[in-house]
Amino acid sequence: MGTQVKDVVIKPEAPNTLLLDKHADYIAAYGSKKDDYEYTLSEYLRMSGIYWGLTVMDLMGQLSRMNREEIIEFIKSCQHDCGGISASTGHDPHLLYTLSAVQILSLYDSINVIDVDKVVDYVKGLQQEDGSFAGDKWGEIDTRFSFCAVATLALLGKLDVINMDKAVGFVLSCMNFDGGFGCRPGSESHAGQIYCCTGFLSITGQLHQVNADLLGWWLCERQLPSGGLNGRPEKLPDVCYSWWVLASLKIIGRIHWIDKAKLRSFILACQDEETGGFADRPGDMVDPFHTLFGVAGLSLLGDEQIKPVNPVFCMPEDVLQRIGLQPDLLN
């Protein structure tokens, strides 16, 4: 048979310096052309899109270029009677966008423009008998939503309203033979889910339940010859995994197990010198999602031009310090 390693090849002319100003310009301008095709089609995730844009701008020290008042008004218009928050006006509420909204308001230190008690009730109401969380009233279960729930409540200082033991029990029941985590019990390990579950266990003070050596090995094996990281075995590298994998490694105290220099080269190669922004891999189209995770990954790697980022919340450390949230990390 003979498998070829799935990977990309970085061209010699690929960018190798950090073009921070170009990225700030790209994000500042993104969404200003409201008739843009991609922008409109991604309305279903707008709240998360705003969170990605604001967070990366804050990490680059450029938050002031964004329209704070407009965004806050937008968020207010997205809170529904049930307390949950939607991605955009006219869309239905969901835990994903409730978290993004709370993260944005935390960045802006304006959490009280929404009805916080109702948000807390909404989140609490989504916990199931087995401790899991549904994403919304339609019942999809996923460990991503366990993370969204506890991250939201932690930012609001209200972790005590849920059944913690059951919530933890459910997440642990999703631990696999390789030390990783999947969406639901029995689901395959995936870096995105691993980020959510290690983040969850950090927030809930249960990191000692992770097999850090085994999981750390699985995570460091995500690094491919190009230096980039994939999300699970035999997949192509993607700059967003520079976040999901790296943050997970940081949370479990094993970030030194990947080759930092090679990863940095890969991330830098994903920049677009013309337009600014980062793409999933070198030569592809850029978007705010990959721009945030490229910059956040570089921050975790220690780039001093970028503010320190918190590996659990993917928000600037100084924001979390202001809130007084310092979730545990393993050493």
Binding site: S42, S187, D238
Partner: protein, 542 residues
């Protein structure tokens, strides 16, 4: 958002593309606005289904539309007979399948399909299984499909054996089969559970128990067959990393029994220290201390400065209760949550007492192997060594040989193990730090085992000195609350910042500290900084 290649095109091509997109956008916006208007007006009719169908086919992640569709379907249900409802939802399944063809990885699509099956008067699980088979034949790594398959299997009562055979077929025919091996790891404990151990633990294996935690709830006979299966896979293709991952799981140690590893009592300090086999939160575990038959009111405190859960806990005994060295005392620590305890006798004339099993008795570093398993692993080691001769650069093989040697005879294979780690760092330099750490871990385990065999007490600090010269120590995390420690020597290490030494401040008898040969000496005002951090240290060498 993923995999969109940036294509260079001419100005004319750009203009054409722009015009086309503008057209598409207009169509999308008008359809979207129409749908949301209808919904606001509370209209739940066929037209709603048509409009959402149009949009969802190419925008399956527009979740609100699936919600609206469900509202419409639920509304239509109320005015239809059972057989019409059946038809309604069957045609819905048809629509979803068309969406899945366009985007087989949409969370919204798959969830909607699951939802439809809960509304169908008569779900057709055979058809659903067939859909999964087809979908997986196109992309064996589609986790959405695998997760859906698990639901179908559960609802329709497909046997575990049948699913195991399914994985056999996939593993045999494909090289990207991590998902199949993973599925196997979840099926085996259900099919071949190990008879429950007769420990006092009251946790029982359940079908949904996590395979990571309950990996050895698979009976040995089946486990040995799995070695063969994985072995065949990586011998066919030594770069099939999935099989090597699976193999490592098979080699993993059995889950350690939850127990109190050690109890230590000190007359002088009137203190009891308790070590557990895993980090616990003492206050939640029903810990009880009994002294000479009398339960004691004590307050447990953790030795870890930050984490709530710690493997070591301390408590102070009532003053005077054990201080008279002419008295003998019997202590018992009860871990009531786990129905286990440990006794410790403090004899006349003894200032202190330990009670623990040895590292070997506790199978701390390796599990006892049955004769069958031992001979199988021996044969595996031989085969892997043969493979290594053919593929000397194969890191999976090297690492697996190390793990096999550890399972069989950690001390006997120490030299070879070190040599293989060296090779690993050369053939897989990106992961050198991982290999270094793993190697250190094994060396420490071996050192402890050697001390056990030589009946030497482990890391005795009775002479109150800790010497750790000539290592690569960067921080003293873990070296806190050592009340007897008087002298620490850390010459020629990698202590760089003052904060690396913070934990020493909690060692109240520490007066001598040697930090020569560490980068920290370059810190500005290091003398005054150190005297602030460690005021009790009077003899400092920099």
């Amino acid at each position: 958002m993923h995999g969109r290649v940036k294509v260079k095109s001419t100005a004319q091509q750009e203009e054409e593309k722009r015009k086309e997109r503008e057209k598409k956008l207009k169509a999308f916006v008008s359809a979207r606005d129409a749908v949301l208007r209808k919904r606001s007006a509370g209209e739940h009719d066929e037209e709603a289904l048509q409009l959402t169908q149009q949009l969802l086919s190419s925008n399956p992640d527009f979740a609100t539309l699936w919600n609206y569709r469900r509202e419409v379907l639920l509304q239509l249900e109320t005015s239809r007979e059972k057989d019409e409802v059946q038809k309604l939802y069957e045609s819905e399944l048809h629509f979803i399948e068309a969406c899945l063809k366009v985007n087989p990885k949409s969370y919204g699509c798959w969830h909607h399909r699951s939802w439809v099956n809960t509304r169908l008067p008569q779900p057709d699980w055979t058809r659903e299984l067939g859909l999964c088979d087809r979908c997986l034949s196109l992309d064996e790594r589609n986790f959405h499909c695998w997760d859906y398959r698990r639901v179908v299997v559960k609802e329709s009562g497909v046997s575990v054996e049948q699913e195991l055979q399914f994985t056999d077929r996939l593993i045999g025919s494909n090289f990207s089969n991590y998902s199949s091996w993973h599925y196997r790891s979840t099926l085996l404990p259900q099919l071949h559970p190990q008879p429950a151990p007769d420990s006092a633990s009251n946790t029982s294996p359940s079908p949904t128990a996590s395979p990571q935690i309950h990996s050895h709830r698979v009976c040995e006979e089946q486990l040995l067959k799995e070695y063969e299966l994985a072995h065949n896979a990586f011998f066919t293709d030594p770069n099939d990393q999935s099989a090597w991952f699976y193999y490592r799981w098979l080699l993993g140690r059995a889950e350690r029994e939850e127990m109190i590893s050690c109890v230590y009592v000190s007359r002088e300090r009137e203190r009891v220290s308790v070590a557990f086999s895993k980090p616990v939160h003492a206050q939640s575990e029903g810990l009880m201390l009994v002294l000479d038959g009398q339960p004691q009111q004590v307050e447990w405190r953790s030795t870890h400065p930050r984490l709530r859960h710690s493997p070591v806990w301390l408590c102070d005994l009532p003053p005077g209760s054990v201080s008279d060295i002419s008295n003998e005392h019997n202590l018992t620590v009860h871990w009531t949550e786990k129905y286990t305890h440990r006794d410790c006798a403090l004899y006349t004339g003894c200032a202190e007492s330990w009670c623990r099993d040895s590292a070997t008795d506790q199978e701390l570093f390796r599990s006892e192997l049955s004769v069958e398993k031992s001979s199988v692993l021996q044969a595996e080691l031989q085969s892997c060594n043969q493979l290594l001769e053919l593929e000397p650069q194969n890191k999976w093989c090297l690492l697996t040989i190390i793990l096999l040697m550890r399972a069989l005879d950690p001390l006997g294979h120490e030299k070879e193990t070190l040599a293989h780690f060296q090779t690993l760092k050369e053939v897989d330099p990106m992961r050198s730090s991982y290999y270094s750490d793993l190697c250190s871990k094994f060396l420490i385990e071996n050192t402890i085992l050697k001390m056990e065999y030589a009946e030497v007490r482990v890391f005795s600090l009775s002479n109150k000195v800790l010497e750790a010269d000539d290592n690569a120590i960067e921080s003293l995390e873990g070296l806190y609350h050592l009340p007897k420690l008087e002298e620490v020597s850390l010459r020629n290490n990698q202590i760089c910042k003052l904060s690396d030494l913070e934990s020493l401040a909690s060692c109240t008898k520490l007066t001598r500290l040697d930090l020569r040969g560490n980068p920290v000496h370059k810190t500005a005002n290091i003398d005054s900084e150190l005297s602030q951090l460690l005021p009790l240290v009077t003899a400092l060498s920099l």
